[in-house]
Symmetry: none
């Protein structure tokens, strides 16, 4: 079954935003076995949009749209596709009531007349509930062709696609496609490719690498008559990867290192506290982004100023004077200090130079020390994250911190420098 993707929005044609929806939808459709032959971007213009829809309908079975479902006058995807599919839009009272309810409980923004537009749905088609926004998705069907209209904001589109549209599309396929993701950390995409090259040429299952922010995912996809068989094909193939590069795999279908950390500590009923300098609170933000984090996390201190390091984290003035704020000793003292204050099992300390530019004492941009305190010992590692923006240095630093924490909580201490409170006593 062939498919095409149509993204509607003048802001895409102006280059104001990056079209991440096209990539998301393409990857998902390809993963389900659809052949995507075209992606088109068209502006908020009824005539040009109609041309695009008619052409797409003439050459593809499945049309997936993003954008143009909002309340404003230039949101006209629904009206235009209705025309091409010979359907009509009518007011759906249930959606209208829900819209009114949503606006009532929202603390800013009131429901305006143009919001009512969002409650109009096709006579012959269906609507798809939007759990993350106000514009529902829409399904049109005519002459054996299907059009699915999704809201433009990626947060809304991705959730709606994965939870509502994907099951619908899978039920239309005669074979089942299943995927599994191996999450790796600590190896770059090209190095990983060299290690597993022979496993990337398979036909069924297939495997592909996707570089994510600070990690690489291996996506294994298998096609079979039923889900169980496709799943077990994926799992068998995953074992081949484990043989080659098992030490880099930190999770399977994982939502990220922070989820693994929270789950692992929740199981052992242990707690972690964080002390951050160059990452400015990003580590505590990532840990607490996980629902249920309160069971394992109570305290994070962003000690951006030197006086805060001394005063709140009880780092001896001598340590900072002698070794500097950006040093392995200060990182260790931060980790120990925050663990003690919070009465936590683990303490993490991060200090470094996020850039842009080198530090005040000539420390190179991207130099980061991370320490994890656990059971009266401190494990430390020095990183040099060069060639990255401020935001990326901060992000990658927290990736390393979470990975260290995860490994140490799993009993792996390889590759870290073990220190014994020497930062406090050396003279």
């Amino acid at each position: 079954m062939n498919a095409e993707i149509i993204c509607v929005g003048t802001e895409l044609l102006l280059g104001d935003i990056l079209n991440t929806n096209a990539q998301f939808l393409s990857r998902e459709l390809a993963g389900m076995g659809f052949s995507v032959y075209f992606q088109t971007v068209v502006g908020d213009n009824a005539d040009r949009l109609l041309q695009v829809v008619q052409l797409a309908k003439s050459r593809s079975d499945l049309l997936i749209f993003s954008g143009g479902l909002g309340p404003t006058d230039d949101d006209l995807t629904k009206e235009t596709v209705a025309k091409a599919f010979n359907d009509e839009l009518v007011l759906n009272e249930k959606i209208l009531e829900e819209l009114k309810e949503t606006f009532k409980v929202r603390s800013f923004g009131h429901m305006t007349n143009n919001n009512i537009k969002q409650a109009y749905v096709p006579v012959k088609g269906n609507f798809i509930e939007n759990e993350n926004g106000t514009a529902p998705g829409i399904v049109f069907k005519a002459e054996g062709k299907i059009a699915i209209l999704l809201p433009g904001p990626p947060r809304e589109l991705e959730h709606m696609f994965l939870h509502k549209v994907k099951p619908l599309l899978l039920s239309m396929q005669d074979s089942v496609i299943k995927s599994l993701v191996l999450n790796t950390f600590g190896i770059g995409e090209s190095a990983l490719e060299e290690e597993v090259k022979q496993l990337l040429n398979g036909n069924n299952p297939t495997a592909a690498l996707y570089a994510k922010e600070g990690e690489v995912h291996i996506r294994i996809t298998a096609k079979a008559d039923d889900e169980e068989k496709a799943d077990s094909m994926c799992e068998e193939y995953a074992k081949e990867f484990e043989k080659c590069i098992g030490s880099f795999i930190y999770g399977v279908n994982s939502s990220g290192l922070e989820y693994e950390v929270v789950q692992t500590l929740a199981k052992t009923k242990e707690k972690v506290a964080t002390a951050e300098s160059c990452t400015g609170g990003l580590l505590s933000e990532r840990i607490t982004a996980v629902s249920g984090a309160s069971a394992v996390f109570e305290c994070g201190i962003c000690s951006y100023g030197t006086n805060i390091k001394e005063q709140l984290l009880n780092i001896p003035q001598k340590t900072i004077e002698r070794y500097g704020v950006v040093s392995e000793n200060t990182a260790c003292a931060m980790a120990e200090g925050v663990a003690e204050i919070a009465n936590a099992d683990y303490g993490v300390g991060i200090t470094g130079i996020a850039g842009p530019g080198n530090g005040p004492n000539g420390e190179p941009e991207g130099l980061v020390y991370i320490a994890v305190w656990y059971k009266q010992k401190v494990y430390m590692k020095k990183f040099l994250l060069t060639g990255a923006t401020r935001q990326r240095v901060r992000r990658i630093a927290t990736q390393h911190a979470l990975h260290m924490l995860l490994r140490i909580s799993q009993g792996v201490q390889d590759g870290y420098k073990e220190m014994f409170s020497e930062w406090q006593y050396e003279e």
Copy 2:
């Protein structure tokens, strides 16, 4: 003059890579005054590519291509466009010699027979030197239409566009286009549209609304004979918006609320400290994401646990017992507490229920109290951020906190509840 962008590559249709070329080219073309009406992505397939080229040639004056210029068999953009433009490709000896030279001095890779393909150029068109790679760009002209073929790798494409193609295109234009963005906060997209409806129908300048995460941008674009005139047309039009909805505009071409906060406090030489519960450090992360934040920020405390609130922020146990952790009094006490500890001019306290689900004492999901302490007074506001994910509640809460901080630092206290340490003394 209208233009369209055609990106060639099966890897785009599989979602393996993000189409950053389309955004780059769109933004550049819009900035030069070209109207880009379509972007199309098509795979490495001669028939489908030819269809796309013929359609584009029938409706647009300028066609910009990316990708498919490489040495391999599935690189067929040049051959296909030559066909549509009734041109022929011939071997260019100069390019061939340069190719050979390039391969000689390169440290890896040897010149293969299929590399010779890259030395073929149109009879009637031109080639464009590639200073960052081996595949030259190509220009085709026929029947008043122009096709420009650029290599796919963004590094090569961007350099070639900026240095070779842009001067060529500018010489074809007789006017200049400039844009300006007004950043608004505190009003939803549809409410904003109702307020400024009459200003959105202009022809030159034009104005459009773009909803971003937790804020709405107004983009004003003007066309004129020179840059200075276009700029002043934008500025004049911006004044019209200021008359209507000035109180919602927090910046012009701003990088975000956190940037405005850091700049404002840097000017007044004041400092801020943060105490966060439900936002988990996101507020301190956002402030410190701004380069130069260390001048205005030294301390953030993520007091996720109740005991940390009491112990580190010195919040009276009575306050928490009487009013609860999620209360206006606790938010105020957090703001005051952290400002005192950090010896900062401003203290921000955030406490709430990010979800999923309601709080332990039945507090509704999305309930957030934010307090800003400044000069012995505390300003507080209660928010109910419903219908959003945990991540979004946290993001929007920090938007509100930054906005409160910005307004209070600008002397605006309207809309906040002023409290006088009553959380400490009420019995």
